[in-house]
């Protein structure tokens, strides 16, 4: 079959992509289910059309989306999702990349079918983003400067968003509402802490919900810092080693997270209320931990930074174990908010809300909602959601001629 101009183009794209991928025609033929070199050559010159089943295989083998292979205008988010699929080289982070990719694909579907609008930062958050990006662009090498910058940005965020110095409430809701960044929690295991994605029209912070809630809050604040500071990486994968790496980017992000979650003024106010003196007592440490809903490790780090606890004292406390300290100094119920895992699956609110509306209007099926909630029990999920379906739309069956 001689190819028309459009099909010649498909062949040319395949040939170009194959050369870029340093593949031989034999290797591509093998990926296409055992085609010989001659057939691959014919495909590349437009003399043989790709079979339907070969399109996806060719795209996967060449690292392209099927849209790109077929010459369709790339949807930015979908292309970005494709990159997330191919960029997950680290075993520990593979699950996080997979989840991020799924969320981006759902975002793309909802944008296409239900007119999902992008997240938009508030005016105050926009100003902070400008400030953070300017800070992030400054070349620095000193740890002290990085920590100071992180603290100043956190204080600016507290002031700009009118958050005072007390404990923050629901951090995912706050980040979404103020910064227009989607926040998702997902059981990703304890090898990976999470991801910050900001590229390709996507702003997403994803954290593993397999850690205690206090730990997760620090991860979220840390990822927010990367976003605010305009980290040049589109995707920042985080495990413990990455989050606490010995470099200015992470020092700055950790300082931001600590001061955003536990401002010094707020700590001092609570200690005054408790009539505590320096160094803070173990019971004071546990009270602060529960009040600010942070992990013991994060609190000790911050108390060291603001010189309310010596390094050795902090280490001695950590060596006792958080559960022992809680048992000794706090009500178990009060500590639960920090020590227990947060909600297992939290989909981004922006996507979840639009998906539910679109489901009710029969513009999307169950797949986006099941994906957002990480559920596979479609029948049960349908039963829970059926009340949302607009009856007029549901009665369309009556037009069917049998």
């Amino acid at each position: 079959m001689t190819g028309d101009a459009e099909f010649d183009e498909v062949g040319r794209r395949i040939a170009d992509a194959r050369r870029r991928a340093r593949m031989t025609q034999e290797q591509l033929g093998a990926a296409l289910g055992g085609l010989d070199k001659t057939k691959v050559s014919k495909i590349e010159s437009g003399r043989r059309r790709l079979d339907i089943s070969e399109v996806a295989l060719a795209a996967a083998a060449l690292g392209l989306s099927t849209r790109a292979l077929l010459g369709m205008p790339e949807r930015t988010k979908l292309a970005f999702a494709g990159r997330l699929a191919t960029d997950a080289h680290d075993d520990a982070l593979r699950g996080a990349y997979r989840r991020a990719r799924q969320l981006v694909e759902i975002d793309d579907t909802l944008t296409e079918v239900a007119g999902l609008a992008s997240g938009v930062p508030t005016a105050a958050a926009e100003a902070l983003l400008a400030e953070g990006r300017a800070t992030g662009a400054r070349a620095i090498t000193s740890k002290a400067t990085a920590k100071r910058q992180g603290r100043e940005l956190a204080e600016a965020a507290r002031a700009g968003l009118d958050l005072g110095s007390d404990a923050l409430g629901n951090l995912p809701d706050l980040i979404e509402a103020q910064f227009g960044v989607d926040v998702a929690l997902s059981p990703l295991g304890t090898e990976a802490d999470g991801l910050c994605v900001h590229g390709g029209g996507v702003n997403l912070i994803l954290a593993s919900s397999d850690f205690p809630a206090g730990h997760v809050r620090f991860t979220l604040a840390h990822e927010l810092a990367h976003h605010l500071l305009g980290d040049t990486r589109e995707v920042i994968g985080e495990d413990e080693a990455a989050m606490f790496a010995d470099n200015v980017v992470e020092w700055r992000a950790n300082a931001f997270a600590a001061h955003f979650l536990m401002p010094e003024r707020g700590i001092q106010a609570l200690l005054r209320f408790r009539q505590e003196t320096t160094p803070v007592s173990p019971s004071g440490v546990i009270a602060l931990m529960i009040h600010f809903q942070v992990s013991l490790a994060a609190l000790v780090y911050q108390l060291n930074e603001v010189r309310l606890l010596g390094f050795d004292e902090g280490q001695a406390l950590r060596a006792q174990g958080v559960n022992n300290l809680v048992r000794a100094y706090a009500e178990a119920d009060a500590a639960r908010v920090v020590l227990n895992s947060p909600e297992r699956v939290r989909p981004p609110t922006r996507l979840h809300r639009v998906a539910l509306n679109a489901f009710g209007e029969r513009r999307v099926g169950l797949a986006p909602i099941a994906g957002l909630l990480e559920r596979s029990d479609d029948d049960e999920l349908y039963s829970e959601l059926a009340m949302l379906i607009n009856e007029t739309d549901a009665s369309a069956d009556q037009d069917f001629i049998v």
């Binding site: 028309d4 459009e6 099909f7 059309r49 339907i52 089943s53 399109v55 996806a56 295989l57 099927t66 849209r67 077929l70 010459g71 369709m72 979908l78 990719r101 799924q102 969320l103 981006v104 694909e105 759902i106 793309d108 579907t109 909802l110 296409e112 079918v113 029969r362 513009r363 999307v364 099926g365 169950l366 797949a367 986006p368 099941a370 994906g371 479609d378 029948d379 349908y382 039963s383 059926a386 379906i389 739309d393 549901a394 369309a396 069956d397 037009d399 069917f400 001629i401 049998v402």
Partner: protein, 206 residues
């Protein structure tokens, strides 16, 4: 027409017929659970029923599937009543189908390369002619409805056949039980098939 099943019953076709009823892979697999059900569909839709090449390819692919391989083989043995499978327009049609497939999948991992492609192709073919379609996957039915193709699951078809006197509720229940035994449908009561309410809303296996 090659019929692999002995005819169990033949009902006269309705007096007026739609131009085309398209059959999806899942719909054909479900109909294939029972010879009588298959033959009823042939008698009601034969002559106006069509499918697309992608459905045939997916059935061929599924022949090796541990769960539905037998049903795929059964369906493939009797596709003559569906006429020549419609070839999707090579470029524009395939692009539209890819777009629809992304919408139907909506981030769910595909279990095989052709998953949801056949449903998408069916919608692309059915849209310009205002076709109706037997589609088992709920998300694909929603996509079909949004694109001007009237979709129906096999269970809803049983419900409408009861209402139109094509089947008694007992006969429909028997077919529903055969579908359930083949793990292609939930446990429905005769009353639910008569009523056709929301429990039948999502019914159907892709």
């Amino acid at each position: 027409m090659s019929l692999i099943f002995p005819a169990r019953r033949r009902t006269p076709p309705p007096s007026h017929r739609p131009s085309t009823t398209l059959f999806d892979t899942g719909g054909l697999l479900t109909l294939a659970v029972d010879a009588g059900l298959w033959n009823l569909a042939v008698s009601r839709f034969g002559g106006t029923a069509r499918t697309v090449v992608a459905v045939v390819k997916e059935l061929e692919h599924l022949r090796k599937d541990a769960n539905v391989g037998g049903l795929a083989t059964t369906a493939l043995a009797d596709l003559v009543w569906l006429g020549d499978p419609i070839v999707l327009d090579e470029d524009a049609g395939r692009k539209q189908a890819e777009r629809l497939r992304n919408i139907i999948a909506a981030g769910r991992p595909l279990t095989h390369d052709l998953q949801h492609y056949a449903e998408a192709a069916l919608i692309v073919v059915g849209r310009p002619i205002g076709a109706q379609a037997i589609i088992e996957d709920y998300d694909a039915r929603v996509a079909a409805q949004g694109n001007g193709v009237r979709p129906m699951s096999v269970h809803k078809l049983l419900h409408l056949w009861i209402r139109q006197g094509v089947l008694t509720s007992a006969q429909a229940f028997e077919y529903s039980e055969a579908i359930r035994s083949a793990k292609r449908g939930m446990d429905y009561t005769e009353e639910e098939l008569i009523e056709g309410g929301f429990k039948l809303g999502r019914v159907g296996q892709p």
